[in-house]
Point group: C2
Chain length 296, copies 2
């Protein structure tokens, strides 16, 4: 199995267009590496590729990744479909860039499928796609020899959904476990996680590689950066640090390669020279640039 | 007035992610300049900037344009709003990238506002924006000293709209005339035009610069490129050449700088060495790269 990290930033990207914080300014000046919005691609055979989420930067990300270029026929493409972990704008907007592509298959949990129904109707007018329940029947098989299961890891409803209070609770946020039948390699893809859980422990115990929600380094990060008092507790992302953070949990699984992704523009991990980065490295976890290819 | 051509390609951009035609392949290999999806920015005073459409590539386009960078306050931005010419996906998707920005004002014609009502409701949940009718009251004034009028130039309904047959005809596609009160400079912005009309003659006669729909060079272009038999007659763009084309019409206005934009990935004008490019140049019309700045 090959995995390409197409993008590694949270919604808004890095730099974020309307943010003049020190980190974003450093990215704009080229002093820190820019990052596009979180998205990945996976293949079992090098010919059939599946997207993990569809970021708003997808067109640029596909253009930057030779393995995903079209050909040899004028409309041939190695892209077979998209696995959505949630319905957040930064994970689904890229579907519009894929409109008109023939025969794509989209996997998502029931609440995500329901809220995207109007978008699906619009996209179907360019080319009909098949939509499937990622949580049904205990799993599914992808062309290229990958076996996938989806696992609920959060309940946060996207902000754009009206009537939040009356929205049914449900598996709004899932993680994927992707296993290569040929190599036995296991990827856990969890770029959006509300809280650590036994489900994640079970997934990490079997994984060769974990791509984990690294949105916020600290629980008070948003409050201390650009929006005093805002905080990010309600944003549905467990922080890296702190007693409920993911770093201590990840430390229990030294057998897996552990990579933080979906980094918010407020996150000090964006700076390779930061104490935060050194601390994470001390636990054996990694921060990688856009375009990194992993083999499992 | 300053105008920046943020992007100059039609929907899908150049190269288009799923197109392996000779032109797209040349762009991927770096033999032809890539182009992001059509979008522009305009300012009268250098401090207050207005977007002309909101392309899906907007985040990348804003990052590439220093004049549109945020600051000095952490959430200060020179962006005041967006003027939409139509509701096509490649002109409105970028609104999602602007979500959460305070105090933006969006101008659009009534059919465009109506079809975007669900999107507006979703975007308002991040930060409320003011939406205005671009065709009301004979015009409007933008911060920075620009006076704008909108003019219907097409009736094409976006493909994603259901029940096309029962959709009310109306001004789905408009052009903008932007005048700088201080310099007297006049920009005509018409990246989507169904057919030439006396309205366009009137606008061009007064313009210092015309940004015009250059989607297709020839009327049979789509049919001869990648989708045999498809044709583009129904796509709502007048071709550059031919008896009903725009090039002959533009030739009547040598006093204006005439620039083709919204170039489809099938358009031979994308190649600076093409006979098509020489022919257009012979008429005094220009093809310019992304990022070009114009002063009027």
């Amino acid at each position: 199995m090959k995995v390409v990290l197409l993008g590694t930033a949270a919604g808004g990207g890095f730099p974020q267009w309307n943010c003049a914080c020190a980190l974003c300014a450093a990215a704009r000046d080229g002093r820190l590496p820019s990052r596009t919005q979180e998205c990945a691609a996976v293949t079992g055979n090098g010919r059939d590729w599946w997207l993990l989420n569809a970021s708003p930067d997808l067109r640029i990300q596909l253009a930057a990744t030779r393995a995903l270029w079209p050909g040899p026929g004028p409309r041939d493409t190695p892209l077979r479909g998209v696995l959505l972990t949630d319905a957040e704008a930064d994970h689904v907007t890229g579907l519009t860039e894929l409109r008109g592509a023939a025969g794509l298959k989209i996997y998502a949990a029931p609440p995500v499928r329901a809220v995207l129904a109007p978008a699906r109707a619009a996209l179907d007018r360019y080319a009909p796609w098949e939509w499937a329940d990622s949580l049904a029947d205990g799993g599914f098989v992808l062309a290229g020899g990958l076996v996938v299961t989806a696992h609920p890891v959060g309940v946060k409803v996207p902000k754009y959904v009206p009537d939040q209070a009356s929205t049914e609770p449900g598996p709004w946020v899932t993680a994927y476990r992707v296993e290569d039948l040929a190599t036995g390699g296991v990827l856990v893809y969890a770029p959006c996680v509300g809280a650590w859980s036994p489900v994640l422990d079970g997934l990490c115990a079997e994984a060769g590689c974990v791509l984990l929600d690294g949105t916020f380094f600290a629980a008070d990060e948003m409050g201390t950066a650009v929006r005093p008092g805002a905080g990010q507790a309600a944003m549905g992302h467990l922080p890296v640090t702190g007693p409920q953070g993911s770093l201590a949990a990840l430390a229990r699984y030294p057998g897996a390669r552990r990579i933080y992704t979906h980094l918010n523009n407020t996150n000090p991990l964006l700076d390779p020279a930061s104490p935060a980065r050194a601390r994470v490295a001390g636990y054996g976890a990694e921060i990688l640039p856009d375009g990194t290819e992993l083999v499992l």
